[in-house]
């Protein structure tokens, strides 16, 4: 499998730490989070395998391409539109979460609109660049940021303040029945593969996807989920951990780099995770805009020969998300993101049925030719 395939999956996994995933998981720490995580890991690996196996059969074809070839317009048009909205919301939730983080921890006196605008304006440029360029950007930014992020994780694991007894205690709750909300939250980590819907356009040469790839992905997710869940518990204990709004930010603030220029890891963590959040939003909004391009031909809208149409989706995105940033508070945000998690974890397994249908129709089309 091409290395770019892993990046798409990896971004979603790494970005979960700043999303609401740790909050939801830790909220239900004594109510079935661990068993939910185990189930999510298994189903998640299965869904990644199914998705990847499906798309490597159609090299270079996006899902909208396939849908247009095999299904009727009344079916695919609403479906693609819904997907565009879902991807837009996924990006927007990352945006709002990070805006809240920045205003809370880095620049409290800056107006919230200004902060969110700075993120939106930088991400929106990604809507204009080509799909392969998005992947190249991801690779370079990951190369620059990932080493330090991994260093922070290692630092957290080796910190003297981490108390493994807490971790062991928390692990005892494995016997609880799995909690659905925890399941959806940890399932979210695996859904990066859904970006293949558009990014499959890039993989025009047939890829291999075998046990090696499955095991690699499985190991990466297990370690990410383990880090996401147990490191905050190791630092803060289980008592009242369900009241922490940003468990990972608190955890990173418990770390100190004694001899470095920047003593508090929090700032390094925030700024480097801003890069990851940027990438996550870049992927989501890029996919969303590409969906919209399948539904509407924006190039047709012109004003005095100037192509106005391509600016419509970015402008809409900017307006809607600046509106939401202002009206939403943190409680709403968590409700919204767990609602999104639930929708996604129902929606994406359902897509497998569509895949089967497409596959049969494509086979039929091939045979009749």
């Amino acid at each position: 499998m091409s290395r770019y395939f892993y990046y798409i999956i990896l971004i979603n996994m790494v970005a979960n730490i700043i999303a609401s995933v740790p909050y939801i998981l830790l909220h239900f720490y004594n109510d079935g989070s661990i068993s939910a995580m185990i189930i999510a890991t298994i189903t998640g690996t299965i869904i990644i395998t199914v998705y990847a196996k499906f798309f490597i059969q159609f090299p270079g074809q996006t899902l909208p391409d396939l849908l247009k070839q095999t299904t009727a317009k009344w079916f695919y048009a609403p479906l693609i539109f819904i997907m565009a909205v879902v991807w837009f919301f996924a990006g927007m939730i990352t945006l709002i979460t990070f805006t809240f983080l920045l205003i809370r921890y880095l620049t409290p006196e800056m107006p919230i609109v200004l902060i969110s605008l700075s993120i939106i304006l930088s991400v929106i440029l990604g809507c204009f660049i080509k799909t392969d360029r998005v992947l190249y950007t991801i690779e370079i930014v990951l190369l620059l940021t990932l080493p330090l992020i991994i260093y922070i994780f290692l630092k957290a694991y080796t910190d003297p303040n981490i108390n493994w007894d807490f971790v062991k205690e928390a692990a005892l709750y494995i016997n609880q029945m799995p909690n659905f909300e925890s399941f959806t939250a940890s399932f979210y980590l695996f859904l990066g593969v859904a970006n293949l819907f558009i990014f499959n356009r890039f993989f025009t040469i047939k890829q291999k996807f075998g046990w090696k790839q499955i095991i690699t992905i499985f190991l990466i997710t297990v370690s990410t989920l383990f880090t996401t869940y147990f490191v905050p518990i190791g630092f803060h204990g289980t008592e009242n951990i369900d009241h922490l709004i940003y468990p990972w930010i608190q955890t990173s603030d418990s770390l100190r780099m004694k001899y470095s220029l920047i003593e508090r890891v929090l700032f390094v963590f925030l700024l480097f995770y801003l890069c990851i959040a940027f990438l996550s939003m870049l992927i989501h909004w890029h996919v969303s805009v590409e969906y919209l391009k399948y539904l509407f031909t924006f190039e047709k809208i012109k004003y005095r020969g100037f192509n106005l149409g391509i600016f419509i989706p970015p402008t809409l995105f900017t307006l809607i998300s600046t509106y939401f940033v202002q009206v939403i508070n943190e409680y709403h945000l968590f409700r919204l993101s767990s609602f999104l998690n639930i929708t996604l974890s129902v929606f994406f397994p359902f897509m497998i049925i569509v895949f089967f249908y497409i596959k049969r129709r494509m086979k039929y089309a091939k045979n009749t030719k």
Binding site: S118, G126, K130, T137, F202, I262
Partner: protein, 447 residues
């Protein structure tokens, strides 16, 4: 093509100058006539290879055969070509009512100069000359492959400068070659004086910040680029050549990298990238940290910075812009000034940027250190054009940081990367990570 008509026509074209020399020789039933431009011709050579044999040989047929056997001999296809070749330093010879061209150009610019822009300690000290043929001679003698292909053309409506495209026809990037040929056809300029101008003429975008071609004066770099499948543009009268397509990393290598041991060159490369990041980000980080989030640095450092800024009446970004502005002025001044004056400029400038500005508390001591660090690390970038582009990006980043703070700086840097990635240089992505182990076969496509 009528010989007399052609001669008349050429005479007409030169009617307004007295540079054209015309002579007729008659001796023992032999006769020739010739015309040339006095200032372009090597007179000794003319005497030795054309005039002396004329008087020595027994008949006209032998002389004609002799002239046609000369390596400088050239056939004539049209009268326009004859005119152009006369202006290139040829002699137009008439024998038995037939026209012949002999190249006897006198070149005063064919000395190979020593490298002055891209200096190295190890490696060759030679640079290209101003003469196209000398340069091609250099390239050919360093790159011994029959596949080395050279296409000549001339550009500039007024000065008709000779331009050459040099590439290895087996290794060349076909798509880029096609694009360059296409774009070079469209070049419509009155005067072309240096190869560097093609960097703009072959660029479709009106405003572009980053160079689309890499400029070099070193023959070894030219060879290295040809071997890598690039296309070289050479021009007569210009000691710089251009190579395309380029990627960002081309601007970060020096030829010396291959001449050092691997550990040393890795170290030097890391140093260079570090310098790149410092020159790009350091001033903005200073603005972001002092004005927006002083708590980011460890307490001692934050206090030192704040203490150093005591008495400075500006906010940090005015301070940074003030100092950087003077640094840029100093840089620009020291390039253009005559050598005798430039020493004064640097001394005066050094005094301002050095101690006086802190004593007058217009800038903090730390700011002075930062500005000098930035200046030094900008010089570390090996190719000048990239260093110029970085200087501009640096100001943009300072502006963004002034408005949006440290988070804005991070995002601005990401946008900078995204911009570089989205650029194209003749069909090649400008910035991407290459896997050199399997550079030939792609494991995925291109969307």
């Amino acid at each position: 093509m009528n010989t007399q008509e052609t001669l008349l026509w050429i005479n007409e074209q030169f009617a307004n100058t007295n540079e054209l020399t015309q002579k007729t020789l008659e001796y023992e039933s032999k006769n020739i006539s010739y015309m040339y431009i006095k200032s372009l011709i090597d007179k000794e050579l003319l005497q030795k290879i054309l005039l002396k044999p004329f008087f020595e040989m027994s008949n006209m047929d032998q002389y004609k055969l002799y002239v046609q056997a000369l390596p400088q001999y050239q056939e004539i296809s049209s009268k326009e070509q004859a005119l152009l070749e006369i202006m290139n330093g040829n002699i137009l010879l008439e024998i038995d009512n037939e026209l012949l061209l002999i190249e006897l150009k006198l070149s005063k610019n064919d000395a190979v100069s020593s490298a002055s822009v891209e200096m190295t300690i190890h490696g060759s000290q030679l640079a290209l000359s101003d003469n196209l043929m000398t340069n091609i001679n250099l390239i050919r003698s360093y790159y011994r492959q029959p596949t080395l292909n050279i296409e000549y053309m001339s550009y500039g409506e007024v000065n008709q400068q000779k331009v050459a495209l040099v590439y290895d026809s087996e290794k060349v990037n076909e798509q880029a070659l096609k694009l360059i040929r296409e774009k070079i056809q469209r070049v419509d300029k009155q005067l072309i004086s240096a190869a560097n101008q093609f960097n703009n003429y072959l660029n479709d975008k009106r405003f572009s910040l980053f160079p689309q071609m890499v400029m070099t004066e070193r023959p070894d770099r030219v060879i290295y680029n040809i071997g890598g499948g690039k296309i070289i543009i050479l021009e007569d009268g210009s000691s710089q050549s251009l190579a395309a397509p380029v990627v960002f990393f081309d601007f970060m290598i020096t030829m010396e990298d291959d001449y050092h041991t691997i550990v040393i060159s890795t170290f030097l490369r890391m140093l260079r990238y570090l310098g790149f990041f410092i020159s790009l980000l350091l001033p903005s980080i200073y603005v972001g940290v002092t004005s927006f989030a002083p708590e980011v640095f460890r307490t001692e450092l934050a206090l030192t910075v704040a203490g150093s800024r005591m008495g400075v009446p500006f906010s940090s970004f005015v301070e940074v812009l003030f100092m950087l502005f003077f640094m840029e002025l100093l840089l620009e001044a020291s390039i253009r000034l005559p050598k005798a004056v430039s020493a004064t400029a640097t001394t005066v400038g050094g005094l301002i940027l050095g101690t006086a500005v802190t004593e007058a508390s217009l800038a903090s001591n730390i700011m002075v250190i930062i500005v000098s660090a930035v200046a030094i690390s900008t010089f570390v970038i090996p190719v000048n054009e990239m260093a110029f582009a970085i200087r501009i990006v640096r100001f943009l980043l300072i502006l963004i940081t002034t408005i949006f703070g440290l988070a804005g700086l991070t995002l601005g840097f990401l946008v900078f990367i995204m911009y570089l990635v989205s650029l194209d240089s003749f069909g090649e992505p400008y910035l991407r990570v290459y896997n050199y182990r399997k550079s030939k076969k792609r494991s995925e496509g291109q969307a």
